[in-house]
């Protein structure tokens, strides 16, 4: 059942409100900027699409249009941060942190200046735009970067909180967002802290732990509910922070259940599941199944059919849980 301390919305399984995580970012940015006038925002010709336009309308003198130039986006922001501003830079994740990866590495991460990189349109759920616009590598690119914090909020409300927390964090931060409307699960009461994972679901006798990041958390919760109805108990851990991983929470859940499934809308190679596997291999070797995209690019389609095609729907998650449990040694 839903873990009481998670303070999720009561209607989460009935008729959840559908809002894209990018909306939560847009709201959070305005809230953070109202409190801290050092915050500036830069966009590479995708201001409305990344929901930076709410900031631009409210604080026109603190908004900087860069044009279609993502390398410039990162490096102008590095200069601003070095001077003393707190810049948020927004584009699609394939372009930033994709196209400008080296600029982020040298001028933001090695420099260790507080630029907040916001990559929208992550995952195949971008839909009809196709593979060129569906970022499936951004977590890998950013989590190998020293000094970088990597956040992947599960819904619009969490994206709002993540944005506010990122603004107050003194290091470079990457925030991963999605285009598509997804269920709002959390409330203003749901705990959120950079570096912390939270239990959202806990059955009485859990046999497996699901570690999920981003909006696919909803599918993990739905799978957990169906599995519980089938007599298979699980824990679902929401991991909005991919780096630094909440090692304590993940190891504890792995030890308790002895079988884990990672869930993310990203390449399996180098993503969130890989981070979990790196941790568990050292601390508590545990059978693990990976939900994610397996060494392939996306394609055009509607989000639901793409999620199913690439094996990230509720059905595939349920199967992965059963498989992980079956791999436990006797």
């Amino acid at each position: 059942m839903i873990y009481h301390n998670s303070r999720l919305r009561a209607d989460v399984f009935e008729k959840p409100e559908m809002v894209p995580t990018r909306d939560g970012f847009g709201k959070g940015l305005v809230e953070a900027a109202e409190k801290d006038e050092r915050i500036v925002a830069l966009c590479a010709d995708l201001t409305e699409s990344t929901r930076m336009h709410w900031f631009a309308e409210k604080f026109p003198e603190r908004f900087i249009e860069i044009g279609v130039a993502e390398q410039n986006l990162a490096t102008v922001a590095a200069g601003l941060a070095n001077y003393g501003k707190i810049p948020f830079i927004a584009s699609y994740a394939t372009f930033s942190p994709g196209r400008n990866n080296e600029q982020i590495r040298t001028t933001i991460a090695i420099n260790n200046v507080p630029v907040k990189i916001v990559g929208s349109h992550a995952g195949v759920s971008v839909g009809p735009d196709g593979a060129t616009h569906q970022a499936l590598e951004d977590i890998a690119l950013m989590r190998v970067m020293p000094n970088m914090i990597v956040l992947s909020p599960c819904d619009a409300e969490e994206a709002r909180k993540a944005t506010i927390a990122a603004a107050a964090w003194n290091d470079p931060v990457y925030i991963r967002l999605a285009r598509e409307k997804t269920p709002v699960m959390t409330t203003s009461e749901t705990p959120f802290k950079i570096g912390k994972a939270e239990v959202f679901w806990e059955s009485d006798d859990p046999q497996a732990a699901l570690f999920a990041t981003g909006p696919l958390l909803y599918n993990a919760l739905a799978a957990a509910k169906e599995l519980e109805e089938d007599g298979i108990g699980t824990i679902v851990l929401n991991s909005p922070t991919i780096k630094p991983l909440d090692e304590q929470a993940i190891v504890a859940a792995a030890k308790r259940t002895g079988a884990v499934v990672s869930v993310e809308e990203h390449q399996i190679a180098g993503g969130f599941g890989s981070a979990v596997a790196e941790l568990l291999a050292q601390e508590c070797p545990t059978p693990q199944e990976f939900i994610g995209v397996r060494d392939s690019f996306g394609q055009s389609g509607n989000p639901q059919e793409l999620i199913a095609h690439y094996g990230m729907d509720v059905l595939h998650i349920r199967e992965a849980v059963r498989k992980a449990i079956s791999r436990k040694s006797a």
Partner: protein, 285 residues
Amino acid sequence: MTLHDEKLKELEEKANAIRETIVEMLVEAGSGHTAGPLGMADIFTALYFHVLNHNPANPEWEERDRLILSNGHIVPVRYAAMAHAGYFPLEEVMTLRKFGSRLQGHPERERLPGLETTSGPLGSGLSQAAGYAYGARMDKKKFRVYCLMSDGEQDAGNTWEGALFAGKYKLENLTAVIDRNNIQIDGNTETIMPLEPLSDKYRAFGWHVLEINGNSIREFVDAVEEAKAIFEKPTLIVAYTIPGKGVKEIEGDYLWHGKPPSAEEGKKFLRELRTLGGKIQSEHE
């Protein structure tokens, strides 16, 4: 702030001392770039000993002029100038490129106060300088931002993105300098990827452009003064320099772009520098 003759002579001697330090540190390091640092010694001397409003005892002083070195590979000249200016003890230059040194092979902001940014990968400095200048203008700060670039990094798209940006936002507090020495690692710039007409390109991007002899401290100081009087535009100083300047046998040779002198060559170079090209008797022999 035009130079009187006595001050000019003093600066030229300082530039020579900085060249000596560069040769000594490169020999000791056993790797690194020679031609660029020697070619830019005059401009760095002018900056650290005349142009910049700075405080070596307080490198983080908020009102300081910002000097962004985009082509990080010529950083030995910056380290040498900073040491001579009193940012750190002169002996420390001999740690260049060694384990544990604050003087990394390419400059890192967090290791040595006063570097302003991390650089080496080419093409990213102009945008960073533009970001500094933009932020400073937002806060009505009076300091100026200087960005030093190589001509080789004019190949990079990021450079031109920065040039467009600075032109659009009319960053009059930004002065960029291109070390126009015509060499890059693989050969001459006009063979590798022709840049001319370079000045016209920047003018077309909304810049005020000046061309000077980059080995003339007086011309550089005059150009910087002119830039301060230009409003509504960033200024670019195209500084024609001789790579390897000060050591006749390597001047203009692109093969000296990316290698250090051997111990033997170092001795020879130093002899030449210490006699100011044979003009004075060496006292170090």
